[in-house]
Amino acid sequence: MRVGIAGVGWFGFQPEVVDYSFREMMFKAAQRAYEDAGGLDPRKDVDAFVSCQEDFWEGIAISDEFAPDPVGGAMKSVYTVAGDGLQCVGQAYMMIKSGLFDVVVVESHAKPSDIITLNDVMLFATDPISIRPLDIGNAHALAALEARAYMHKYGVTEEHLEAVVEKAHRAGAKNPRAVYASPGRSRSSSPVVADPLRDADIAKFVDAAVVVVLASDRVIRDYTDAPVWVDGAWWSTEISSLELHDWSFPVHAREAADGAYAQAKITDPAKEVGFAEVDNRYSFKELQHVEALRLAPVGAAKDLMADGAFCPGGRLPVNLSGGALAEGVPFEVHGLARLSYAVAVMRGDIKAQVDRREVAVIHSWRGVPTTTSVVVVLRT
């Protein structure tokens, strides 16, 4: 049983979507996805719906209450995954492979602009006994600890981070939904936030909704002539206690990638993968994730980056979209943002500077203080 993507729709990707509620954003993204899936009728054609969201991002307890209506799921099989949108894709992938479901809709939405106390809310995810009492004034500091550990161990310098930032903004300038892309952005003149991280190393937040329709190979041709296949989907949580996780390397991303590659029968990712969309919500994360995904040997991403290997038109373009640094971080939508861009590139809807569009690898991390990554392998 093969699982494919039959349609994708998105809405928002603005720092603040002022005119629409999150429910209305969901509806608009869903309308577009269903249109993209050949005018699929969610009331008849869809077996189940999965929404990826977290209560404290929504400011609603049991926020899954609000999931059904805007996507056409009222009185149907709808549930929520408290995780990145790609984890929803992973669930849909399993559901379809089980044989019980043929068409599953995946949704995620985010409205960071509605949260006034975002730092407090982020720190609400830290351990109440060992970390919360420290009252860390800036959640990004936790990422800075990882950044220094990684940079120290592998000789990554601020110039290497500069290259990541520059690439993201240049690539993002060609991505119409990358609202934060600014090709002239200089990292070195942006202020230090929590060293070694400067303001330019840290992605901003963005309001967005993405809906993806997945279908079994049995029925997918009813909805699209150009399916993009999900040939692998795997995720991993390293450990809950930050104190016990690897500060210098995202082990979770490596574990998720190995699982997804095994399913997709990819043995040499650096050769077989045509392009990648990975999490770069902090600049150094892009280098880490490229290595975790085995697109570069550990410690070597910085040099390959400097050589232009991961640039648009390079040997293995990474984040042709500009990634989160250019598009912003829409909370749990992030993975679906990466995926929807890749699908558009693979189908040729977006003309991107990439030679090999047949195999793409998509990655998302859930941000601090989590140690969870999801990796999806797509094939045309």
Partner: protein
């Protein structure tokens, strides 16, 4: 396996009073939001400020939505427009609350219920109707306990215009209309 009662020796350390170190974490002010109301509820709230209850409708299935949404939950399409519903209707269900949100005893109990709202020229059965939850005033405890309140006609009692803020609380309560 006879004689075995599962679960075997379930564990957990119960306590009544925390006479050991705990971390008390004040939340006040730490989780604040400013919701974008959006097209549907934004207009609904503005309507309340003007003393009107607004709903949306779907021409395909004929449903009227209060509280309004910009999409039909059942046809999955954009609604076709807005209409003003009456600020009166009938009680579908009602209860008498003797406790507050924090579970403190109230000095005087309050009645709350779901009101099925009237829409001129339209009929609704019990399975789907425009309806709001709100306080019901003018009902005695016995009216609620005896269920006489079910089906009773009620009408919104509005706050004076200058006190309205564009909130569901611009309606103080739905008042029982005595025939």
């Amino acid at each position: 396996m006879s004689g075995v009662t599962k679960p075997l020796n379930p564990r957990g350390t119960k306590y009544e009073r925390a006479d050991f170190p705990v971390f008390e974490f004040p939340v006040v002010g730490k989780a604040r939001y400013n919701y974008t109301t959006g097209e549907a509820l934004g207009r609904f709230l503005a309507g309340l400020k003007e003393g009107k209850i607004l709903g949306t409708y779907c021409s395909k299935c004929g449903r009227v939505f209060v509280p309004p949404r910009m999409y039909c939950s059942y046809c999955f399409r954009e609604v076709d427009g807005w209409l003003e519903v009456r600020d009166e209707g009938v009680v579908v269900t009602a209860v008498m609350s003797y406790i507050s949100a924090t579970r403190a005893r109230l000095e005087r109990p309050v009645a709350v219920g779901v009101i099925k709202l009237d829409v001129p020229g339209r009929q609704f059965d019990d399975h789907f109707f425009p309806g709001l939850m709100h306080y019901i005033c003018g009902a005695a405890e016995e009216d609620v306990k005896s269920m006489r309140i079910f089906g009773a006609k009620v009408k919104a009692r509005w706050k004076p215009p200058e006190q309205r803020t564009g909130s569901i609380t611009d309606i103080e309560c739905f008042e029982v209309v005595r025939p």
